[in-house]
């Protein structure tokens, strides 16, 4: 991968990749692995980009696909994932990737969602419209709205009392 490609086509969109990778990883080591894999995949698939969508949409799509694939691989190797409605304190102390504490708490809560729900809420928080979310996730736009409401309710429940 040329330095130019990284600086012009990946670095300006690094924020997108970071936000997504953080939602699918529990440690700094995993995060860096996922980030590198996304960058590689963006480089590998650059020739498939047909300009039917924005480059940022393309990066979102690749980032999500890579994270979902890596997570699937990890799951198949028997790694444990939490799915409770209450945030465990142990995990809270281990996952402080951001300086902002409420944001850390929000990310921990997001990591408790299903893989697809994480993708939906990340795109929603990035202010993507429902049709855009549907396009990126390659799904029907009709039920995205209902799904977002349901996810937000679950996040509120998960975050209840964890910060002021």
């Amino acid at each position: 991968m040329s330095k130019d490609f990284y600086q012009t086509s990946i670095l300006p969109f690094a924020g997108i990749i970071i936000k997504i990778c953080r939602a699918y990883t529990n440690s700094q080591e995993d995060f860096e692995d996922y980030y590198q894999e996304v960058c590689l995949q963006v480089w590998r698939s650059k020739d498939n980009f047909r300009e039917q969508c924005k480059w940022s949409t393309w990066v979102y799509r690749i980032s999500l696909n890579v994270c979902l694939t890596l997570l699937k691989k990890k799951k198949s190797k028997g790694h444990m994932y939490f799915t409770s409605d209450v945030l465990p304190d142990v995990v809270i102390t281990e996952n402080r990737a951001f300086e902002d504490e409420p944001l850390n708490q929000l990310y921990i809560a997001i990591r408790h969602l299903s893989e697809v729900d994480r993708a939906v809420i990340l795109l929603y928080l990035e202010e993507k419209s429902y049709p855009e979310i549907a396009e990126i996730l390659n799904t029907n736009a009709n039920n995205i709205g209902v799904r977002v409401i349901r996810i937000k309710e679950r996040l509120k429940k998960l975050l209840d009392g964890k910060f002021n």
Binding site: M1, A14, K19, Q36, C39, F98, E99, L103, I121, L155
Partner: protein, 214 residues
């Protein structure tokens, strides 16, 4: 809105420091480790299977009244086990080089060398296994008195002691074929067991090469 998830998200990401991209120094570092670890893991599983087979062989052969053949097969397997163990240990001596590309290339060269050596070995061991198998069949037949029955049924067939010459010719030809085709059979076996991971190794090296030249 004060504590809504939208506001937490927006406020949180106002701090630019939280969105600093990690440095990409060695893109394939983890990937290389995974590929090599996978090959090592598969080799170890292979070793466990050989140990189990070498224990089972004499037991199975005992029941068909061919204990010595079982012990011989087991001995041959233990020699293979010892040789494989030496090979696996030699991975540690590989030159790790300055980058994961150097390491993967060294690993690939090592793998090709190992497979070539193994091909030479199977040219001897596979025919030996074949002879042991024929000897086992012979012993089992002897136990049931089959050769004698065959001799009585087909008296015009030549036989040495009680062993039919036809059976000896078949055994000899099959062993000869095994000498000729053992390397090919071995390559087919390796492809069947390790094909996917070896392909992955080749793909990774090819991609790294492309990445270096772009």
């Amino acid at each position: 809105m004060e504590n809504s998830i939208e506001s937490i998200w927006k406020k949180g990401f106002l701090h630019e420091t939280s969105l600093v991209a990690p440095k990409i120094n060695d893109l394939y570092n983890q990937k290389s480790k995974h590929v090599v670890d996978r090959v090592k893991r598969m080799f170890r599983i292979n070793q466990i299977v050989i140990v189990m087979m070498s224990v089972l062989m004499p037991a199975i052969h005992y029941f068909v009244d061919a204990l010595w053949q079982g012990i011989t097969a087991s001995g041959l397997m233990l020699i293979t086990l010892w040789y494989n163990d030496r090979i696996i240990r030699s991975i540690k001596t590989l030159d790790q080089g300055a980058t994961s590309f150097d390491y993967l290339q060294a690993f690939d060269r090592w793998l090709n060398d190992v497979l070539l050596k193994a091909e030479r070995i199977v040219r001897i061991s596979y025919p030996l296994y074949m002879l042991i198998a024929f000897s086992t069949i012979g012993s089992a037949w002897n136990k049931q008195g089959l050769p004698l029955k065959l001799q009585q049924r087909f008296p015009h067939f030549l036989s040495i002691d009680t062993i039919s010459v036809v059976a000896l010719i078949v055994a000899g030809l099959t062993t000869l074929l095994m000498v000729l085709f053992s390397a090919r059979i071995y390559r087919w076996e390796v492809r069947l067991m390790y094909g996917r991971v070896f392909d992955k190794l080749k793909d990774t090296i090819a991609e790294m090469e492309k990445l270096r030249h772009e």
